[in-house]
């Protein structure tokens, strides 16, 4: 059995023509992969830092819980939403989190269909991140509807007394379907992908409760070739379904804006631009999470520098797409000849929210350019800083889109400035607590890396894929 956790970075980022760069380092064999992934899970106690972060995350979660409770007791007036900015931070946070929630399915579905084998060691964590981000995202529109306890009116549930149905011609309803379908399919995909690895946990587990829990969760998986046959077909089908799905989700989220008449929202560029932004922020979030996680759990041989570098390249590419979209928006506003549109964009850049606009441009367009330098995209601590900036920038992008357009609508007499309240701010921060708590629990109790998939791409006697 291979020794576990050499925990040093080996540079596998150089291209050697004619050879495939190795994706699993440190000379790990099958058992070595299992050992590496299972070691942190089998450890008697998680590392101290895990507890520290968990404590911090739980206190933020408490803040979030308190805020939601306060909101339910008092009503949506506790937010800074005003007339005309009816959509305040809740929608900004929603789009922000949904955007982050795109990377996971993208990595597991689209990169799978493109046969990008390097996805195997990051897809599990990225999918988990997706699901937890969608949980955070779902929270905001959920509590934004005012009467949360009748949230089920969002769905076409036949009722005897209501005799009403949702309006299927509204983008907001499309959104309900898109996000809930996305959450459901992501969970199915995630869980299905995890079953063989949970079976590994079942077979290694020592505690009685663990045996029962993992035994049930692994559904009696044996790894039979007949099962694998159908499993792989199912995996491919799910990937094929999830690929258009993941593109549709942020497209439909962008319809929430684009189908309205408001200058600055009413544009056809929104769907592709939102999707590019979502991938951009999602990958940045994956890098931000995986760099500390691999250091903590000694996964450097599986999540190698090459993996990180690949993601950074995608971040840079999508960042430039987003930058191009910013430019095109200005061009179209000018080219359309519509004064309202032109005003909306000049107001974005130089109006009273100019600061938000320039934070956005700096973080999303300027800072990722650092990834042109190899050192920047292969130095873990540095790329985390860049990625954090990217996500700050992406939050501000949604802020700029939502708030600047709403605050300057058609009637100048209703123009106003938007001020968030303390609750707004605490909810945003608190949502990170929810996200981090879920992610830490995932790291502790579930297989962080898709062991079976990693093993399947490891070279053996005849290497054909």
């Amino acid at each position: 059995m291979a020794s576990v956790n050499p925990a040093i970075d080996i540079d596998n980022t150089n291209e050697e023509p004619g050879t495939r760069a190795p994706l699993v380092l440190g000379g790990l064999d099958y058992a070595g992969v299992t050992e590496t992934v299972c070691a942190p899970w089998e450890a008697e106690n998680p590392p101290k830092i895990w507890w520290l972060i968990l404590a911090a995350a739980l206190s933020l979660l408490l803040v979030l819980g308190g805020c939601v409770n306060h909101l339910l007791m008092k009503g949506v007036g506790v937010w800074g939403n005003n007339n005309p900015a009816y959509w305040g931070w809740p929608i900004v946070n929603f789009v922000f989190w949904v955007g982050i929630g795109h990377a996971g399915t993208l990595i597991s579905a689209i990169l799978f269909l493109f046969r990008q084998n390097w996805r195997t060691s990051i897809n599990r964590a990225a999918e988990a991140m997706t699901i937890f981000a969608v949980v955070c995202a779902g929270l905001f529109p959920g509590i934004h509807i005012g009467r949360v306890w009748v949230f089920y009116w969002l769905f076409p549930i036949p009722t005897e007394h209501l005799a009403m149905w949702p309006n299927f011609r509204s983008p907001l309803l499309w959104d309900v379907f898109a996000v809930s379908t996305y959450a459901t399919v992501s969970i199915l995909f995630w869980y299905m992908g995890m079953v063989p690895d949970i079976a590994t946990f079942r077979d290694r587990c020592k505690s009685k409760i663990g045996k029962i829990a993992y035994g049930i969760l692994s559904l009696g998986w044996t790894g039979s070739a007949r099962n694998w046959h159908r499993y792989e077909i199912a995996y491919t089908i799910l990937a094929a379904l999830a690929t258009p799905l993941v593109l549709s989700v942020h497209t439909i989220v962008s319809f929430d804006f684009a189908v309205s008449q408001l200058p600055g929202w009413h544009t056809t560029i929104f769907p592709p631009y939102f999707v590019a932004g979502a991938i951009f922020s999602g990958f940045a979030a994956v890098v931000t999470l995986l760099v500390p996680a691999r250091a903590l759990y000694g996964l450097q041989n599986l999540i190698t520098l090459r993996h990180l570098e690949n993601m950074n390249k995608i971040i840079m590419a999508t960042g430039m797409m987003v930058g191009t979209a910013y430019g095109i928006e200005f061009f179209i506003a000018w080219y359309s000849g519509v004064p309202n549109e032109q005003f909306a964009f000049i107001n974005r850049a130089f109006g009273n929210f100019w600061w938000a606009y320039w934070i956005m441009v700096t973080c999303n367009v300027v800072i990722p350019q650092l990834f042109w330098f190899k050192w920047c995209r292969t130095t873990p601590w540095f790329m985390v800083i860049v990625c954090i900036f990217v996500n700050i920038g992406m939050w501000f992008e949604r802020f700029v889109i939502t708030i600047t357009s709403l605050c300057r609508d058609f009637i100048p007499s209703s123009w106003a400035y938007f001020h968030p309240t303390g609750i707004d701010i605490m909810m945003l921060i608190g949502s990170f607590g929810l996200f981090t708590t879920l992610f830490l629990l995932f790291c502790r109790f579930l297989p962080v890396i898709a062991m079976a998939e990693v093993k399947s791409i490891m070279p053996h006697g005849d290497d054909h894929h």
Binding site: D29, Y30, A31, T34, R147, W149, P156, P158, T159, E160, A163, W165, N167, F168, R169, P171, L173, W174, A178, T181, T184, V185, L188, F189, M192, P196, A199, T200, D203, R204, L219, G220, W221, T222, G223, S224, A225, R226, N227, W228, H229, R230, Y231, E232, I233, A234, I237, L238, L241, A242, P244, L245, S248, F255, A452, E453, S456, G461, D462, H464
Partner: protein, 479 residues
Amino acid sequence: MADKNDKDSKLVGLLAQFDDPDSLISACNEARLAGYKAMDAYSPFPVHGIDPAIGIQRSLLPFLVFCVGFGACFAGLGMQYYTNAADWSPIFPGYAFKISGKPLFSFPANIPVTFEIIVLSSAFATFLGMWGLNKLPMFSNPLHRISRFKRATNDKFFLMIETKDENFNRSETESQLNQWGAVAIEECRQDLTDNQLPSWVRLVGLLGVFLLMLPPVMIFRNMGMTSRSPRLHVVPDMDWQHKEKTQVLSPVMENGEYLFTDERAMRKPVDGSIARGQLEVDSEMYRGVKKDYKAAANSAKTNARLVSASIEDKEDAPVEPDQADQAEDVSMWMTQFPEGVTVDQAFVERGQQRFNIYCSACHGYDGNGNGLVNQRAMALGANGQAQWTAAKSMHDATVKDDSKNPLGRIFDTITNGRNTMGPYGAQIPAEDRWAIVAYVKALQETGIQPATASTETDGADEEKQTDADGGSDKEEKTS
């Protein structure tokens, strides 16, 4: 396993271990060539090239998913059509409502939801179909009892040839497996003594099912029952809001005084304010008073209606501004229908319908004053349980007499009430009140009369339908 008695356990197959995927594949190929069919390979990851080696047929799963997705496409479109564009209702009514000027059903607007429904259903079909075809979950499997087999999810590869296979022969198969490169061979035995679920599992299961059944049973029980206690308000803030309702006392301030000095919570409109669309300056249309009738009196009356303040000071006295007018001057009332009202059959039919809704309860469908309310009230009144003035018959001489009770006055009776009859102006729009007037006149022409009524009717032999026409025609003549 091995020390178990042969009687207690049954041989299921021979499990051979291999150390790498390639030797597994070659062993599978050998086994297939040797004629074995009931066999399966186990590996920690999908080993490519093993399907043909074992002879696995391509799964039906994609076809299944396609069928479900195809069906979901129509189900999704149908659902949207039924809920948003149809208003017929087999069980739950559809709800065809126009919104934002959008068509009730148009493909572009219905694509996103249809797409999501297809994806969702197909994903479930894939997920459930895959597990179903794999016969999972299956928690009882003799393989899980073999400790060596635990490495099938880690780093080792196994081939099991089952006793089911017709070529299976305990010793011969073992030697064959050895020959094909097995690293180790073990018997896989099913424990026959232990094939019962532990008894506590059943107990817990039963208890769980019982507990799960409770809520729905309770709900259905309550749905089929009537109850005298008020309904449960889980979240009460919509049902009991922090606001003052109409017709209640003014909120009290901390010093014990009423917030509003007139002690009501309702605020009156500012003096002289008129709600949108209720200016109603046309006295003929809205009050049944001739335009050229004493302008002064008219405007005084208008003001009395609009400026509620002065009247409402003496709230206790019911307001009957018409009493005096009526006694003084019948000439103020319109004797014909106002401009803008065309009396035709449809109009009188509308009047009939409104009359049946608003007036028949007291005056009866034929206007004889024998409506149900009236009958009951008279019966109660007869033994002193109520005080009731009989609802007048429309055929009563005074009511019928055009000179004493011209059209405008009937209109006014409906609008403001008369004597003990209450006003209906607030419920019935002016056009409908005129329609009722037309119908009342038509009724009077029919000659359906109470025993005591006068006989001065013409056209009593005509049918009611034509009468309605004749009646209104007559109106126009008289006017």
